[in-house]
């Protein structure tokens, strides 16, 4: 039944991991803090990706792509986001806040569960029973019932196609994002002139992150788009002219 669990390392699901990273740094949930932990998140995924199933990774990678967006936005306020991207970002923030609240509340449940149990009557040992069959009790009905039961036994669920499609297109998301980051940087070039060294470092690390994410997506073809990531050198070169 372990197949029902979508675990990477010790974390059950991407939100579990993300919330943990934020709480470890004692941050409040916001776009700013999400941008801050994006690297940690990707680094963790990379360290754990060995031997993980496509199903386990899929959910984590979807969240990684939203984190990349958030980080890009933090670095380059000029970056244009479409409606879906905007809603992905606010949605992630909301879900994290919600999960955090549920964890808070779960302490009330934990504190009480199994402590002062209210008992009901035990099964009466000596009870007068009357044989009372009903018209339902005929062999064909039994066969129908048992077949229905067997049909409804839980099976290992395959990962829904919707999720797979999203993950596969992540590759496109990365290359697309890399392009847009490059453009946004040119556009906001003036901003980069100030405090040059720091900005360059940030960009380098950001692109490093993109690369990590790409490698993290173990089941995704990467070679065809390698050149897009190669943008790193071009981009780093920008401040020189």
């Amino acid at each position: 039944m372990d197949n029902f669990k979508v675990k990477v390392g010790e974390f059950e699901g991407p939100l579990d991991l993300l919330l943990n990273l934020i709480e470890k740094r004692k941050l409040h949930i916001s776009q700013v803090s999400l941008a801050q932990v994006a690297d940690d998140y990707v680094a963790y995924l990379k360290s754990e990706d060995e031997g993980q199933s496509m199903e386990a990774m899929a959910n984590f990678i979807m969240v990684a792509s939203t984190l990349m967006l958030i980080k890009s936005l933090a670095l380059l306020p000029g970056l244009q986001l479409n409606e879906e991207e905007k809603s992905d970002i606010s949605n992630l923030e909301d879900r994290l806040k919600q999960l955090q609240r549920v964890r808070e509340l779960s302490l009330h449940v934990k504190e009480r569960f199994g402590k002062d149990i209210i008992f009901t009557q035990t099964e009466r040992a000596k009870r007068v029973t009357v044989f009372a069959p009903t018209h339902e009790l005929i062999i064909p009905n039994l066969l129908t019932a048992i077949k229905e039961l067997i049909k409804n036994l839980p099976k290992v669920e395959a990962i829904p196609e919707k999720v797979i499609r999203k993950v596969i297109s992540l590759e496109e998301v990365i290359s697309d994002l890399a392009k847009r980051v490059g453009q946004a940087m040119k556009m906001s070039f003036k901003d980069f002139v100030k405090d040059k060294a720091d900005k360059v470092n940030i960009i380098v690390s950001f692109l490093g992150m993109l690369e990590l994410v790409k490698q993290g997506a173990i089941n995704i073809e990467q070679k065809a788009h390698f050149e897009d990531i190669g943008m790193e050198s071009t981009t780093v070169g920008i401040p020189r002219y």
Binding site: L142, L143, L153
Partner: protein, 184 residues
């Protein structure tokens, strides 16, 4: 919580006659205080829905005599009512797979079956026996009357018996570790 309330709770839970000596020991009290509390409880229950039955050395909690008409009516209705889908499903599982434990029944059905099992027993359709391999647990099986009613001389005559057995055993085998309380 006073002694009378404790006696009430214990008798309610046990749902069978309990010896006064056992009660005194359990509640860590002497006979005198116990008898006083018993009388106190009797007085308190006057006009209520329950009553305290005293048979020599034994005590039992029951429904008040004034409620007997109501209870009889309910008992009759209980027996004449249809089983319904959930109960039929549970009973079928017991017929095909019995003797079978409650955790196994719950695991196959994906829901808790305790109340349904109680009803099936009240109706004389299923009975429970102590598991020879583990005396702390019960196994459920169909009653002889039910098998006769269905016209079955032996269980193997059930349609698709072999294949049902295989499917269910396969499932129960793979889910052995996840039954009972030890989940996650």
């Amino acid at each position: 919580m006073d002694l009378a309330a404790k006696i009430e709770a214990v008798l309610f839970y046990r749902a069978e006659p309990v010896k006064k000596t056992e009660l005194a020991k359990l509640l860590n009290t002497d006979q005198e205080a116990l008898l006083e509390a018993i009388n106190g409880l009797k007085t308190r229950l006057e006009g209520q829905g329950l009553c305290l039955l005293e048979l020599g050395e034994e005590l039992e909690l029951g429904t008040a005599p004034e409620a007997s008409g109501l209870i009889e009516q309910m008992a009759k209705e209980e027996l004449s009512r249809e089983l319904g889908k959930a109960a039929l499903e549970t009973l079928t599982l017991i017929i095909y797979q019995g003797p079978i434990s409650r955790p196994e029944i719950d695991q196959v059905r994906g829901v808790n079956s305790s109340f349904i099992l109680r009803n099936l027993m009240v109706r004389g359709l299923a009975e429970r026996v102590i598991d020879e391999k583990d005396s702390r647990r019960f196994l459920y099986k169909p009653t002889l009357e039910l098998l006769r009613h269905l016209g079955l001389e032996k269980i193997e005559e059930l349609p698709e018996y072999e294949i049902v057995q295989q499917e269910l055993n396969k499932f129960l085998e793979t889910n052995k570790d996840t039954d009972g309380a030890g989940i996650d």
